[in-house]
Each structure stands twice: as structure tokens, then as C-alpha cells.
């Protein structure tokens, strides 16, 4: 048994910006089996509306019993979560899904956009410990306010971060793919990508072009998070569908069907 349904206590609530929040939750069981790239399903309220759990990447683990999620308030579920108080409990299901497959020896590059940065912190921390060389980190967001606190987290791990913002207020003014092009990544580089679909498409094409490996973490609507509802599909290159919650959320980008206009 490596998944659990737990009442987890909210240890800490940090408001990084007006609408980006970090929750620290306690569950030694979930933490004991969690791997970078996995996610949890959280009940955001006690009522029946919103009805379904919401998926969030595990963005950090610590001390064998704490884990963090980092989220943005975009709708009712996240608004309810943002309204919680320290000391209260949340029902959490996890850890769920496949994680990133870490290449311990090759050069690694983490590419995150917006809230897609969340799982990369856990990944970066793990790599810093496991891999022969630390990964390069490229992070994009709308502006300094949203990006700076997240960049700090990676910096604390001793990783060098290349930021990019839409408005140029922090790091490169433009897209993460611009940054990637100028980084001089090693030949057999593996990229680990999580962010908006358009960004992942662009990074996939870039990697395909250069012959780099590319793992992407896919976001879809999810009802169950555990392979039961068959709602969370992503179209596969070979035809048919993969299930984001059980076959993913991390997929080899080559196996997916990318709609490129």
C-alpha cells in the first residue's frame, strides 16, 4: 500500500502573493512514499459543493512528515483552501501518479512556468542530493511578484536559476524557450517540464529538435486521481489515450500527441 487517505493537519499557511499560497501539511505516511512529480487530491471544503477533490503537486517534503503544496487561487476550490486556518485538517489522498524519472548522470534541466513550478522544487531538491551534477533551472511567470519568491526557494537549494517574466520585471523579458536556447545544454540533456500547455508544447518541440529527452507533467480535469473514472485523458501519439492520473501526470513528451498549429 503506497497511497493513503488521510486527515492532514495544516501546519502553516504562507501567502506568497495575494493569490499564491503555500500550505504545509502533516502526514508521515504520505511523505514516506512521495516522489517528485506525484500529486495529492484534496477536499477543499466540507460541503458537497464543490463536490470533487482538487489535484495539487507535492512541491516539497521535509522532516519525514511535512509536505507542501503551492497553489494559486483560480476558482472556488482554491478560494476555499485559501480560507483555511492553521490547525485545521484537510482530507488528502496520495501520493498519486507516476513521478519524474530522474536521470542521475546526464545533464538535467528543470523548466517550470507559473504554478507548474511547484513540483520542480521537490524534484530539484531530490536531484541536488542524487545526481552527479546539479540541474539547471529555468522558471517563467508573469512578473517579479509571482516569480521572485519561487526563485528564492531554488536558490536556497544552491541551484542556479534562470528566470523569465512576461513583463520583463525579473530576469529575461520573454519566454522560457528563449532562455533555454541560450543556455548551452549538454547533448544528452533531459528536461523536466511543468507549466501551461503552450509552454510545454514549445519546450517539447525545442527538445525534439535538439534530440533532448523531455518529460512533461500534464494537467487535466480529474475526478478521482486514481485511475477509476477514466476522465483525465491525454491523447497519445500512437492513438488512443493515456490517463493523466495513473499513467502520468508525468509523460515522455514523445509519447503524447501535440496539437501544433
Amino acid at each position: 500500500m503506497s497511497q493513503f487517505q488521510e486527515k492532514t493537519q495544516i501546519i502553516r499557511i504562507e501567502r506568497l502573493t495575494t493569490d499564491i499560497i503555500r500550505l504545509t501539511l502533516e502526514s508521515s505516511r504520505i511523505v514516506s512514499t512521495a516522489k517528485p512529480g506525484q500529486f495529492v487530491m484534496i477536499r477543499t471544503g466540507n460541503g458537497k459543493d464543490p463536490l470533487l477533490r482538487r489535484p495539487f503537486s507535492i512541491s516539497q517534503i521535509a522532516n519525514g512528515k511535512y509536505f507542501q503544496i503551492l497553489f494559486k487561487v483560480v476558482g472556488r476550490g482554491t478560494a476555499l483552501l485559501a480560507h483555511c486556518r492553521e490547525g485545521e485538517s484537510l482530507s488528502v489522498l496520495g501520493p498519486l501518479g507516476s513521478g519524474f524519472r530522474i536521470h542521475s548522470n546526464g545533464p538535467n534541466c528543470l523548466v517550470g512556468g507559473g504554478m507548474g513550478i511547484a513540483p520542480l522544487l521537490f524534484l530539484g531538491k531530490t536531484m541536488a542530493r542524487q545526481c552527479s551534477a546539479p540541474p539547471l533551472v529555468v522558471l517563467g511567470a508573469r512578473n517579479r511578484e509571482e516569480l521572485a519568491p519561487l526563485v528564492d526557494d531554488f536558490a536556497e537549494l544552491g541551484l542556479s536559476v534562470h528566470p523569465a517574466t512576461d513583463d520583463g520585471s525579473f530576469g529575461h523579458h520573454g519566454l522560457v524557450t528563449d532562455v533555454l536556447k541560450n543556455l548551452g545544454l549538454g547533448d544528452d540533456c533531459m528536461t523536466y517540464v511543468c507549466g501551461p500547455h503552450l509552454m510545454m508544447t514549445a519546450v517539447h518541440l525545442f527538445c525534439k529538435d535538439r534530440g533532448y529527452g523531455c518529460q512533461v507533467s500534464m494537467e487535466t480535469a480529474m475526478a478521482c486521481g486514481m485511475g477509476a473514472c477514466l476522465g483525465c485523458i491525454v491523447p497519445l501519439e500512437e492513438g488512443g489515450y493515456g490517463h493523466a492520473c495513473s499513467d502520468g501526470p508525468v509523460f515522455d513528451a514523445k509519447e503524447l500527441l501535440w496539437e501544433v498549429k
Partner: protein
């Protein structure tokens, strides 16, 4: 829990099928059961109904397939499944060793397909019953759902019944004017039980993109939102037929199970609630055991149809 409740009688029967307790899981909401092993002791359930199986494998509908609605969800999975052959060789195989009746939900676009699937499943070890999903459109009859015309529903029942040695449950669609007519028709055609309700047909629109929220445009509504409709139909059908009725629709808790049994259900199936609380089914079993003990009832069966009127 298990041992202290030893004396409590939760057993119910669906035709020749004897269940430890009335709590089953609904097709399409419990995968092929093994997915729930981290959370549920499957052996404690009354039965599990696995995802709907067709003759040939189906890829299902394109995404998006699900969308949340007020106290409910719409799904248009499009009956994605591995087909009856792989189902038998892989999925039924993996279910060996579980001490719980496995019911197989089947579906087809023609009478022949239903008949063929029933034949394939007949005699397969571990298949304790067949649940026939008649909400599918009949391709030969211009896409009218089998479940909306009494004669068509009866034909499907006969076709499956003639090719099955295990009990056959017919699962009724709620999208009809008078569900008791369909229930009586399938009873007359030999069904061992009816289960209801399947999903209500619904739709959701994203006003920003001006597009349907499901690629399939329409989908099936499930969850607490539909419970009042389900309870009403179970009540009506239980009065109209003498075979057992299995209640489905928005059931989340022990209290919900009690309500459906009072309305006339012999057993129930928990669907969407499994997504919200994977332990919902086992918790309902615990709750029923506590209830029967507290109320000092001889058996949970005393509850069936026990609604007090006036």
C-alpha cells in the same frame, strides 16, 4: 469493527446471489476494483460492479470528458474499455482471490452484441452476476436508447438472460417518462433484478469560449444533485415490480443507504462518492452494522420498503 459486529445480519439476496451486505459499488466509478485496494478492504463489500464492457475494445470519447456541476458531475467517458476478451483474461484474472461478488456491467449497440458478450462471460470464474446497461443507443433503431422503449428493453433482457447462468440485473435509465413501464417489461422478460438510476442526461457550457464543456457536448449527470430523482424512481419501481431493486444515485453515506432501502431498495450502489471519498462504500457497511445493532433489528432486511406513509 469486523469482529464486534459479528452478530449483525446485513445479508441480502439478489435472485440467487447472496450478498454479505447491501453495499455495492457502481459501474464506472470503481475502476476494476483493485484501484481501491489501498483504501478499502474489498472483502467487506456486498459486491463490486466493474466498468462497462463491450464486445470490442473502445477508446472512448476525446477530452474533456468530465466537468463538475453543482453538487454533481457530468461525464462523457464514452464507455472506454478493454473489450470483453481482455477483460476476461486480464481484469477478471486479477480479481481472483477477492472474497466479494464481482458483477460485470455490459453494453452494446445491437441486440447481437449484448448476446455475444453474455456468451463470452458465461461460465467465467468469478463472474457472480451480469448488470446490463441499457442506456446505450441502439444503432439499428436509429440511436434510440434500448432503455427508453419497454419492448427493446425486454429484448435485451431476454438476449442476455438466455445466455447467462448467473443472475442478470438490468440497469435502468432515468431519462424516461415512466420508468415503471421499463421496469415491468424487463421483469416480465426474466430479469432477476433491476438497478437504477443510471445518469441523467445533461450539458454544461463555458460561456467564455462559448463551447460545450464536454467534447461530446452532452454527458451523464451523477452525484448528490440527482439523489432526489433516484430516490423517487426507486420508490416507484419498488412498488411496480416484485424482483429486487438496487438503488443508485448520489449515495454517499450510511444515511443515504437507509433512505434508499426505506424507499424499497434491497441493495444499493455507491458511484460518484467513491471519487470524493474512496472509503465511502466500506464506511457505509460499518454504518449499517452500527445502525442494525443500535436499532436492535434482527436483520437489515427489515428496512426494505419500510417507508411509513401518512
Amino acid at each position: 469493527m469486523g469482529s464486534e459486529m459479528k452478530d449483525v445480519d446485513l445479508r441480502v439476496s439478489i435472485g440467487s446471489l447472496n450478498l454479505k451486505n447491501p453495499v455495492m459499488t457502481a459501474s464506472g466509478t470503481f475502476g476494476y476494483a483493485r484501484e481501491f485496494e489501498p483504501y478499502v478492504n474489498l472483502n467487506r463489500l456486498g459486491g463490486v460492479v466493474v466498468k462497462g464492457i463491450s464486445l470490442e475494445p473502445r477508446a472512448g470519447n476525446p477530452p474533456p470528458r468530465i466537468v463538475e456541476t453543482s453538487c454533481g458531475m457530468l461525464n462523457a467517458i464514452g464507455l472506454e474499455n478493454v473489450g470483453v476478451e481482455r477483460f476476461i483474461s486480464e481484469k477478471m484474472e486479477s480479481l481472483q482471490g477477492i472474497d466479494v461478488p464481482v458483477l460485470v456491467n455490459i453494453l452494446g449497440d445491437t441486440l447481437d452484441e449484448y448476446r455475444e458478450i453474455a456468451k463470452c462471460l458465461n461460465g467465467v470464474p468469478g463472474v457472480a452476476g451480469i448488470e446490463v446497461n441499457i442506456s446505450c443507443p441502439n444503432v439499428k433503431k436509429g440511436g434510440v436508447a434500448f432503455g427508453t422503449v419497454p419492448e427493446m428493453a425486454a429484448s435485451v433482457t431476454t438476449a442476455v438472460k438466455e445466455n447467462s447462468s448467473v443472475p442478470v440485473i438490468v440497469k435502468l435509465s432515468p431519462n424516461v417518462t415512466d420508468i415503471t413501464l421499463i421496469a415491468r417489461a424487463v421483469e416480465d422478460a426474466g430479469a432477476d433484478a433491476v438497478s437504477l438510476i443510471n445518469t441523467l442526461i445533461g450539458m454544461a457550457i463555458d460561456h467564455r469560449s462559448r463551447r460545450p464543456q464536454l467534447a461530446n457536448v452532452i454527458g451523464g449527470l451523477s452525484g448528490p444533485a440527482i439523489k432526489p430523482v433516484a430516490l423517487r424512481m426507486v420508490y416507484q419501481v419498488a412498488q411496480a415490480v416484485s424482483i429486487p431493486v438496487i438503488g443508485i444515485g448520489g449515495i454517499e453515506s450510511t444515511e443515504d443507504v437507509l433512505e434508499f432501502m426505506l424507499a424499497g431498495a434491497t441493495a444499493v450502489q455507491i458511484g460518484t462518492a467513491n471519487f470524493v471519498n474512496p472509503r465511502a462504500s466500506e464506511e457505509a457497511v460499518d454504518g449499517l452494522a452500527r445502525y442494525v445493532a443500535e436499532q436492535e433489528m434482527d436483520s437489515i432486511r427489515e428496512l426494505i420498503g419500510g417507508l411509513i406513509l401518512s
